[in-house]
């Protein structure tokens, strides 16, 4: 993807997170604590990660409480306020893009829509798409990654080939093209939510090989471990070994990579909306707002800075939290 920087998932943390092994060594030092407890303790001490986590929680709260927040502090997101606009320049009246007590983040040029409301609703879209597509990638990645690693043989070669192929695919280009040809509304949802679903599916689908590769590698090494052999010799069948013995040991890397794929998804969603194939107008999205700002940023920079800063803060918060989580679950990465 030409998104480039945001694909920072590239083996940056060389997934040495062989969770079971980590647990063995740390258990010698602190007897009787589970990996969960140890990680939680470490995470709590990591102030930067906690900060990121708090920002994420605030954003989630904003997204959930959006209708209430707008009733109290804003105006409907598609309501025009022509009285706030300079009729000759079509720019917001007042300083900093018309920021006032009434309009906390100012108004849009031309039609004077409340930027605060649009940001709040944009948070809903962004977080929904980012979380659900990460969830989809994780499910697919775990499913295919574990099958490839556990079954081996031709299943492994087919799945590995598909993953290599998808990773060597012009993904952004294809996502744009795919999203743009799919119908605007379907399955009885309105345009906003059917587009959201399309975005989730497309972003989630292209994300699974990143997780799949890691899960496959971990499964390959876990398969040869004694506890799996022990379980097998006790007569356990494959499903039990997969889900009861191996999956818990994969939980740590899966959790870390799911967290780290979320910021990538946020950037992809914003990029698609920026290019005009994401959430359709008049429904708000941060990327779409930046795209609207293209015409006006020279004269009304706040209109561009506010959604851009929101994307930045959100992605940064997820990156900080994800890094902290990785460090907490995998002390070797430090």
């Amino acid at each position: 993807m030409s998104l480039g920087p945001e694909t920072s998932l590239h083996d940056e943390s060389t997934p040495t997170a062989d969770a079971a092994q980590e647990r063995d060594t740390s258990e010698k030092a602190i007897a009787g604590r589970s990996l969960k407890q140890i990680a939680w303790r470490r995470l709590k001490k990591d102030r930067v990660a906690v900060g990121g986590g708090i920002v994420i929680l605030v954003l989630i709260a904003i997204a959930i409480l959006a209708p209430l927040l707008i009733k109290l502090l804003g105006h409907p997101f598609d309501e025009y306020h022509n009285d706030k606009i300079d009729p000759t320049l079509s720019l917001p009246l007042g300083k900093l893009g018309g920021i006032s007590k009434d309009f906390l983040l100012g108004v849009e040029p031309v039609n004077g829509r409340d930027i605060f409301s649009r940001i709040v609703y944009g948070a809903q879209t962004t977080l929904t798409v980012a979380f659900l597509s990460a969830f989809l990638s994780t499910i697919l990645g775990v499913l295919f990654g574990m099958s490839a690693g556990f079954l081996g043989g031709w299943v492994d070669s087919v799945i590995s080939r598909i993953m290599d192929f998808l990773l060597a695919f012009p993904q952004l280009l294809f996502s744009i093209a795919l999203v743009s040809v799919l119908p605007q509304s379907m399955l009885g949802f309105n345009t906003r939510w059917s587009r959201t679903i399309v975005l989730i599916v497309v972003i989630g689908f292209f994300g699974w090989p990143y997780i799949g590769r890691i899960v496959r590698g971990q499964t390959l090494s876990l398969r040869e471990r004694e506890f799996v052999e022990a379980s097998r010799s006790l007569g356990a069948r494959s499903p039990r070994i997969l889900f009861r013995e191996m999956l818990p040991n994969l939980a740590a890397p899966i959790l870390v990579y799911t967290t780290l794929i979320i910021p990538t998804n946020i950037l992809t969603e914003a990029a698609l909306s920026f290019l005009g194939v994401g959430i359709p107008p008049p429904y708000p999205s941060w990327g779409g707002m930046l795209s609207d700002a293209l015409q006006f940023y020279r004269y009304d920079p706040m209109f561009m800075i506010i959604p851009g800063a929101m994307i930045f803060i959100t992605v940064l918060a997820f990156n900080l939290f994800g890094d902290g989580l990785r460090d907490a679950l995998d002390p070797k990465a430090r």
């Binding site: 920087p5 694909t7 060597a168 280009l173 743009s180 005009g276 940023y297 561009m304 994307i311 990156n319």
Partner: protein
């Protein structure tokens, strides 16, 4: 080695075939499902049925998908004729067809756009590799210092910033605010190298900043891992100078993993830096891709996808071959 090369080349061709087939399939089937007709796109909405049918015959839109795909492939290798009775248009190889809306040949458009994207990608790549590696290595060597912490903070911010935001910020500050730089613009290198440079400077720096952040983080992590290896301790124990230890033993294996990432990134970028080109209004492959997508122009979309996949596949191949040279543990064969 030769056998390996042949196998890889076959592999590359197969990948390209699959990419085009998938693209072809999706853009062939989806308009059918949604009820839009490529022939109408080509000729306009109010055309009379006879003309539409003529276009359909001429473009071969009535053929089964597999025949259409075959003709598309044949066009690339040997050229093709579009014929509707006496009305014949010849499109010489390599033929990617004609744009639906403007009825131009796709191949020359893309070839014309290629230097823009290549200039953008290569220039940015040089900056980001230099910056990323230098900053990353120094950070790794001075782990925990103020330098390390500030570089890593900036890098973390860098990986969290999208280009469509930093690009606009850069334009606001450096072009319209301080007026330090001219607006981004592409001038062919051989027309005026100075203008080529100044016009691309801002897109380069903006794009490179984001990648440099990723590379600095990667380099630091890899270097730290390498510097913790036993053989580095051995090298030090032998009494080698610190410069030799880092320069000869550390960098080589610390930077090897970067080659893979670099190949993928550059390959992806060469196929069209869609976002960068959109922000700075540069007419490279990404611009045409977006243009094609917005106007539902299948031949353009197919052409750009093919170019993009080609670059990714080629860069992958180069990386794998390079690996055999820089990493003695890897044997090709």
């Amino acid at each position: 080695m030769v056998a390996y090369l042949i196998r890889r080349l076959i592999n590359a061709v197969v990948t390209l075939l699959v990419v085009t087939l998938v693209t072809f399939g999706v853009f062939f089937l989806v308009p059918k499902a949604t009820g839009s007709d490529p022939a109408l796109l080509y000729i306009g909405k109010q055309a009379d049925p006879v003309a539409v049918e003529g276009i359909r015959t001429k473009l071969g839109l009535n053929d089964p998908i597999i025949v259409q795909y075959w003709k598309f492939l044949k066009g690339i290798v040997a050229g093709r004729d579009y014929a509707n009775g006496p009305d014949i248009t010849h499109c010489s190889a390599p033929c990617l067809g004609y744009t639906f809306k403007t009825n131009q040949e796709v191949w020359p458009i893309l070839i014309h756009a290629l230097p823009v994207t290549v200039s953008l990608a290569i220039g940015a790549a040089i900056i980001w590799v230099l910056m990323g590696v230098i900053f990353g290595v120094i950070s790794a060597l001075r782990r925990g210092s103020i330098w390390d912490r500030s570089v890593m903070t900036i890098a973390l911010a860098g990986v969290s910033l999208p280009i469509y935001f930093t690009g606009l910020l850069a334009l606001t500050i450096f072009v319209y605010g301080l007026e330090w730089l001219p607006n981004a613009d592409y001038t062919p290198f051989f027309d005026n190298p100075v203008k080529w440079f100044t016009g691309l400077l801002m897109p380069w720096v903006t794009l490179a900043f984001l990648f440099a952040a990723t590379y600095a983080r990667l380099t630091r992590a890899n270097m730290l891992e390498t510097l913790g290896e036993d053989y580095i301790r051995t090298a030090r124990a032998k009494g080698l100078k610190e410069r030799t230890v880092i320069g000869k033993h550390g960098l080589r294996s610390g930077l090897t993993p970067l080659v893979t990432v670099f190949g993928l990134d550059l390959g992806a970028l060469l196929g069209g830096a869609i976002l960068t080109e959109a922000v700075f209004n540069l007419r490279g492959l990404g611009y045409w891709a977006l243009n094609g997508i917005r106007t539902n122009d299948l031949p353009t979309i197919l052409g750009v996808t093919l170019f993009a996949a080609f670059f990714i596949v080629i860069m992958n191949l180069i990386v794998d071959l390079l690996y055999g040279v820089i990493d003695p543990r890897v044997r090709l064969g």
